[in-house]
Every structure is written in C-alpha cells, then in structure tokens.
C-alpha cells in the first residue's frame, strides 16, 4: 500500500416508521417458540419502501457535497439487472459522472465495500438497504428488520481506519438463492461454534494486531452477530469488554442484514469520545473486521441514534404479515389496475422524478413538474426554468383525505395538495400516517417511496411522498 487509508466523514441511518412488538406478534403464533427473538421490536417497512428507498433515505443527509463514487449494498435489492447505485445518483441529485457500483452476495457486502473504499481513500458513499423476505412463522421473520444505513468516506474524516482484517469462509449458516428467496438456516449451535470461534474472533484479533492495539483497548463495538446472543462468546474469545451496539440494534429493530453493521457503527460512533477505538465487523460468508480511531464527533451519528427511538409501535400481526409480503391479501378487483412504466418516458422524466427536481420560473415561482410554459398566471410563453430540488424543503398539507375506495396495499390511501414553503404546490401521496392521520396545515417532510409496482413485469417506479415532519417518540 502506497497511501494512508481513508476515514469516515459522516454516517446515516434510516428506519421505517412501524416497529412490530415481537412479544405481541409471538402471541399470534401459538406454536412459535422453537427459536428466534420474542422480545424487543422489529422495524417494518411500509408497503412503499424497499432496500433502495431505505438506503436512499439513510444517505440523504450525507451527500451535501457530491461523492465521487456511490456504492449500493443489499441482499434484497429489488432489481437483478438494474443498478440501484445509478438510481441513487438520480434520487440524491448527484452528477451523472459519479462512479457507481452495486454489491451483494452476503450480509457482509456493505462492510466489505466500506473497507475497499477506505483502502482506496475514496470519496465514496456506501449506502446499504435491506428488506429481506422471510416465511411467516420462521425465526427470521421476527428476527429480521428493515432499514438503511450509509457511510461517507474521505480522507479527513473524524474516524480513521487504523486496522483491518478479512476472513473468507463459506459457512452455510443461512443462505438464500434464486428461486428460494427466503433464508434457509442451519442449526444454531453449529453456527455459534464455527462463526464465533473460527471466523469472527480471528478476524477481530488480526485487525487489532494490525492496528497495534490490544482487544481490551476497544471501547465500542459494532459486530454483526449471525445469531442473537453471540457477543458474549466472541467477547470472551477475543478479550473485548466493550458493549456491542449491533446487538442492541438487533433488539430494537431486528437484524438489518447488509445495513446492520453500518447502522450499528453509527451508534458506536455516537457513544465514542475522541481517542476511542471502535470495532466494526461484518459477517456473512466470512468476516471483515475494521478498527477506527475516533478523533471527533462523527456527523450523523447522533441522528442515527435518535432514529432508533422515533417510530410507531404496532401489535398488528396481520398488517405485518401483509406488509412483509408473507400474506397475500385479496384487495379486490380495483387492485388489478395495470401500472406499466415505459422506458422512453422514464428516459425523459425519470431523473427529475426520482430527484424531485422542479423548476423556478422567471418570476421566482417554483413548480413541479417543469413545463415549457410555466404554471404562473400570466405566463404566456416558454421560459427556461432553473432546477430546484424539492426533496429537502418544508411543506404543509393544503388539502387531504383518507381515500378508502382507492386501492393501496395498506389502506387507507392518503393524498392531497401539498404546499411547499417556496411556493410550489403538488398533488402528492402522503405516507407514514399516524393514528390521527393528516389534516390541513400539518407540516410535512418528503420521503422517497415506491410509486407503483408492476407485478406482471417485475417493474416498480419511485417518487416522493409527504410524511409527517416529525415522528412520534417510542415509549421507552
């Protein structure tokens, strides 16, 4: 290596609104009890969220300056041959000259991509999102969680990579395959012994050696456990005494798959003080262990921790089954509506739609979408509109209803006119409704969500939706 490894400049984490109360859910499955978590919460993606939108949301706050490279990491990416990193470039309104790459293959892919970016000292965004399918009743259905995380790398960040090590090991703790999308798991006792003893612990110890520190010097850990409760054994084997934020995260949100370790890293960074060493370990078909020295507060870490406590607890197991795709509810004839997106139309409007780019006319009025002749009264001819990104701007509900006739996978269908503070007015879907729903004047924030799903052709489109500007605080 001819240059210093890079550092982490900022982190991001995003969780969906709903948190399923596992204990309540377990009561719905009387035979449930052969394994899996039965306490804490499981973060549940809305019908209109997927691995891509979750990753995009996690990334929004850390791309104020455009990165040179974007990497999308997931094992549940919606597309097989369509790069989500390129979609991220549009969703985050980044330059088309951005280098892009999707990684997958195991839950470890995001950490592996992060290590590569750091070793290359790249100015990169690693964005991970996960919404993994699981069979109802399986331990993983409640153990998994949906969420996104992101890391921005650079050369002068607050957390410097000081040690690292990798282990490649095809351990069949669980796997998913084409035609078998849900995980098939091996015996837990076998996983605990092999994963902990021969893969994770050796990688951590090798990373410590490279960093020139003793395991006991590690103050905070973000070690992705293959199974809950393994940290105690790994800590014993390595001599680490630090708490594992990845275990805490799994308890509160579920295992976020490829997004898990990076989210946990944000929590560890939030707890760390200058001078502390933080351990990150990603697991899956091997292990990548990274050790950081934290020199200052890492931007985004506090926000990621705050996101843990913001959500809406739910005990509605049937709704969870439907949202997680484990139950195919019959929504009637109205749900048969065809929503085919044409490639030619996406080529013309896709980037502005995904990036929520409106236009400012000659008199300063902002509108979406852009049109040749602006919507401003009195405009009589073509005007060149200046691009305005609306995704991060404040807005309020101008009119709204809960439409119970229109089809949506999670009724009712909320929509209305949304008034942006900059003057733009847009008819939009609203999402993440709380128990009280929406009313005129409610403040909104924008969320990137699935707009349409074309099951017949395996296609989906994305657009932004209005969501409550603030989320409720979960009860402790």
């Amino acid at each position: 290596m001819t240059h210093e490894p890079g550092s982490i400049v900022a982190v991001g984490g995003y969780l969906p609104l709903l948190r399923l109360d596992r204990a309540q859910a377990a009561k719905s499955l009387r035979h449930f009890g052969l394994g899996g978590r039965q306490a804490g919460y499981r973060a549940v993606a809305g019908w209109d969220e997927d691995a891509f939108t979750l990753a995009a949301e996690a990334s929004r706050a850390i791309v104020e300056s455009p990165p040179a490279r974007v990497c999308f990491a997931s094992t549940s990416a919606p597309f097989i041959d369509r790069a989500h990193a390129s979609l991220l470039v549009d969703a985050l309104a980044l330059p088309r000259s951005t280098r892009t790459l999707d990684v997958a293959g195991s839950r470890r892919c995001a950490v592996a991509a992060l290590l590569d970016a750091l070793l290359g000292a790249d100015d990169a965004l690693i964005a991970a999102g996960e919404r993994r399918p699981a069979k109802a009743g399986s331990p993983s259905h409640l153990a998994y969680g949906d969420g996104g995380s992101a890391v921005r790398t650079g050369t002068n960040g607050a957390a410097k990579l000081v040690g690292w090590a990798s282990e490649a090991h095809d351990l069949l703790d669980s796997y998913a395959a084409r035609g078998h999308e849900t995980a098939y798991a091996s015996e837990e006792r076998f996983i605990r012994d092999i994963a902990g003893g021969t893969i994770i612990a050796p990688a951590i110890l090798a990373a410590c050696t490279r960093a020139g520190i003793a395991p006991g010097d590690i103050k905070w850990a973000a070690v992705h456990e293959p199974l809950s409760g393994m940290w105690k054994d790994i800590a014993r084997r390595t001599g680490i005494t630090a708490p594992n934020d990845a275990a805490t995260l799994a308890e509160q949100t579920g295992d976020l798959g490829a997004a898990h370790a990076l989210f946990a890293l944000a929590l560890a960074f939030d707890a760390a003080r200058p001078g502390d060493h933080v351990l990150l370990a990603g697991f899956g078909s091997g292990c990548d262990a990274l050790i950081f020295r934290v020199d200052a507060k890492v931007p985004g870490a506090a926000e990621a921790r705050a996101a843990l406590g913001l959500g809406e607890a739910s005990a509605d197991y049937v709704r969870f089954l439907s949202l997680s795709g484990a139950l195919d509810l019959d929504f009637g004839v109205r749900s048969e509506f065809e929503q085919k997106a044409q490639a030619t139309v996406l080529e013309r409007y896709g980037r502005d739609t995904l990036g929520f780019i409106g236009g400012r006319d000659a008199k300063g009025n902002v509108q979406f979408p852009k049109t040749a002749i602006p919507v401003r009264p009195g405009a009589e001819g073509r005007e060149a509109l200046e691009d305005v990104r609306l995704a991060d701007l404040a807005a309020t509900v101008a009119s709204v209803t809960a439409d119970r006739l229109n089809y949506t996978p999670d009724p009712p269908f909320w929509f209305g006119l949304v008034q942006f503070d900059n003057g733009a007015r847009i008819l939009m879907e609203l999402t993440d409704a709380g128990p009280a729903g929406f009313k005129v004047g409610d403040p909104l924030g924008m969320r990137l969500r699935i707009k349409s799903v074309d099951k017949r052709r395996g296609m989906r489109t994305y657009f932004w939706k209005g969501a409550p500007a603030k989320r409720p605080q979960m009860e402790a």
Partner: protein, 399 residues
C-alpha cells in the same frame, strides 16, 4: 363581434334511457332507447339528421373509441359522426357541438347523444385509469370521492366550520335527491333514505360517507336540435331554446400554483359568469328557476351553489338546511334526483340534466313538475376540483 348562442338553437326532441344497473342491455341498446324517445318527440325522420356527436367518457371500459358505436347502433347512414370526450362534462360537450353546428348554419338537424355502460367493470365506483405515462410517474391515483373529499376539508377550513354543520348539509343534499329520485321512473335509485341512515353510512373518503357519493350507472340520453325557425315550422310554437352553453377548463393553476384555497371550483364560477352573460341573466337568484348540477358528491353540489352565485360564500350550508334547493324551495335543485339518484353514466349525464330541464320547461315533469320553470341551468363538472372542466348551460323558452 361574437353574439353568443342565445336563442339560436332549439331543442325539439329529447330522450333518456332508464338509468341503472342495466345488466340485460348493452351500450347499443341504451343508445337506441334514448334515441327512439328523442326522435319520436322531435317528430322528424331519422334521415333528416345531418350530423351526430356521441359523448362517451370511458371508451376503454365498454363502448369503444370513435363515434362508430353510435353510427352502428342507430345505423346512421354515412352522416358525419364524431365522438367528444371531456370527462364528466362529456354529455354537455356533445350537446354543445350539435348546437354550434346548427347555429353556424352548417346543418339544420343535429343529434347529440351521450352514453356510458359502466356496470360491466365488475366493481363499484369509477374505474382507475392511467393519467398519462408521464403523470403516472408522480401523480397519485386518487379515487373520485378522494378528490372531492378534499373540497369538503378545504371548504370547512376556509369558512371555519366545525364539520358538523357541513356534514348535516351534505346529508340534506343527498336526502333531498333521494326524495326527488323516488318520483322518477327512470332513476337508478328510487328509494327515499332517512337523514340518520345517511349520516351513519360507512366512510368512503373522509368526510364523504356512502350516501355522499353518487353511484355509477348504465344509461344514455339524447337531444335533437335545430333552428327556432325550423322548430316553429314543425308546429312547435314555443320551443325550448339554448340560452347559453359555456365551458371553463383548468390549465394547472389550482394544483400547481399556490393561490387557490381549494374551497371553491374556479371553473364553475367562470363558466357560470359567462353563461349568465350569454343568456342575459342579470340576477341568477331571481331568474334561474331550477338547476341540475353535478352532484357527483354531496359536497360538490353544496359548493356549486356558491360557485353559481346562488348562495353567498360560506352560506350554502345554511341555505341547504333551510330548504332553498329542495323541490319546494326557492331554486329547486336536482328535481329528477341528480347524479346521486338518477344515476351517473358519465357521458350521458350532461344530456340527462338537459332532459329534466327540458321536461320541466315543457311542463311534462309529472309529480316533479315545478310551478315556475322559466330558466333551467345545468352544470357539469369533469375531473377533480383541482383539475376540472366545468360546463354550464341555460335553457329557456324562445319567448
């Protein structure tokens, strides 16, 4: 200098099929049903019709595109037939086209026919349709009640209503229409319904309950038009004439520019203002005898009363509760039951409204006959409050 359409065209025949769930009839049967009544009423030969316009809003559901379904159903021989479509204003558009053709002198006899066969969709409510490939990328697919429910919310907010009075007034709108529809043998819904039932109905789109929404129907309606002079030559001494037909359409202002408060429909206001001017109506509250308005939802009728200038802004709630628009009130509205109860086969509705006004003006309305029927107003509203086409027609007698 344009002089408008007033008194230039007479309606000499009208027909209307039975509206409703016409399981045993196809679109062609419905067209024939309406046409046979109209041609019999007009007293002319079918061969005298020189051009026809077919109004059909949802061609992909059943009837088919172009106007050929009309030519086929009626076996019209090689005359020009054209299809017009402007959402729920489609029926009035068909009438407007025929009226303008006669007024221009291009033809002596024109036919306007609106038809819709909605009950083959397999479900209630209007079908969900694409909004265009580019719009589909971002625009929500709200249902019709979903779009008009927002009118209710914005109206409440604009006039500081607590919702209770509005809900009562909306219920009264539907109650009144059921009272009237029960008297019409061709209406889709012919039962009276109590206020309590209306108020306790399941919610469709907040705050619109089931009885705040019109259903969708199968049906057709038809008009035959000519010049007043020809009408008189046919022995019609005091023909019903068109006093005004006006349209106003959104250009995106309501939903794309932050001025509109959502509590009214600008296109109705504009179309009404133009129609009154065209018809020479100076004081609509005194001169308009009756209205047939686009009560797709109860709140639409309520707000329309203000947009037509028949109630002051914010006062329609109280005028409605005072009975001003009941059949025995000062300006009866929906004497045939309206969209709510007569039914709403979209492309036919504008002509169905004209059919009721025509029958009232000719004193043929039976149990529904009003003691005073000088000027009757019809109002169609296509689309959504924030993106609409409004059509306002005024019919009266020549003298």
């Amino acid at each position: 200098m344009a002089t408008g359409i007033k008194d230039k065209v007479a309606i000499i025949g009208m027909g209307c099929s039975v509206f409703g769930e016409r399981w045993d009839r196809g679109a062609d049967d419905l067209m024939i049903e309406a046409f046979e009544e109209a041609i019999g009423d007009a007293g002319i030969e079918r061969s005298q019709i020189e051009a026809a316009w077919m109004g059909n809003a949802l061609d992909d559901i059943n009837v088919g595109n172009s106007a050929l379904p009309l030519a086929h159903a009626l076996r019209l021989e090689t005359i020009p037939v054209s299809r017009v479509e402007n959402m729920c204003a489609t029926g009035t558009e068909a009438l407007r086209a025929a009226v303008y053709a006669v007024a221009s002198g291009a033809i002596d006899f024109g036919l306007a026919l609106g038809v819709e066969k909605l009950k083959d969709t397999g479900y209630g409510g209007l079908p969900l349709r694409t909004k265009g490939l580019a719009n589909d990328l971002w625009m929500p697919y709200g249902s019709a009640p979903g779009t008009f429910a927002q009118l209710a919310g914005a109206y409440s907010a604009a006039h500081s209503l607590d919702g209770g009075d509005l809900k009562q007034a909306m219920a009264h709108v539907s109650w009144k229409s059921h009272q009237n529809g029960a008297l019409h043998g061709k209406a889709h819904l012919r039962k009276t319904v109590g206020m309590d039932t209306i108020l306790k109905a399941p919610m469709i789109a907040d705050p619109l309950g089931l009885f705040d929404c019109c259903g969708v129907s199968d049906g057709a309606a038809c008009a035959i038009v000519t010049t007043p002079e020809i009408a008189k030559s046919l022995g019609i001494t005091n023909p019903v004439v068109v006093k005004a037909i006006q349209l106003s359409a959104s250009n995106g202002w309501e939903m794309g520019y932050g001025e509109w408060d959502g509590a009214s429909v600008r296109n109705t206001q504009v179309a009404a203002r133009r129609a009154y001017a065209e018809a020479g109506i100076k004081d609509p509250r005194a001169e308009i005898s009756m209205t047939e308005v686009h009560d797709c939802f109860s709140v639409t009728e309520l707000v329309t009363m203000e947009d037509l200038g028949l109630s002051d802004p914010g006062r329609a709630v109280f005028d409605i509760l005072d009975g001003k628009y009941d059949r025995g009130g000062a300006i009866p509205c929906q004497t045939d039951g309206g969209l709510k109860c007569f039914g709403h086969p979209v492309g036919a509705s504008g002509l169905r409204m004209a059919y009721e006004v025509y029958n009232q003006l000719k004193e043929r309305a039976g149990d529904r006959q009003l003691s005073r029927a000088d000027f009757g107003l019809t109002h169609n509203l296509g689309g959504a409050p924030f993106n609409s086409v409004a059509a306002v027609s005024i019919l009266g007698r020549l003298d």
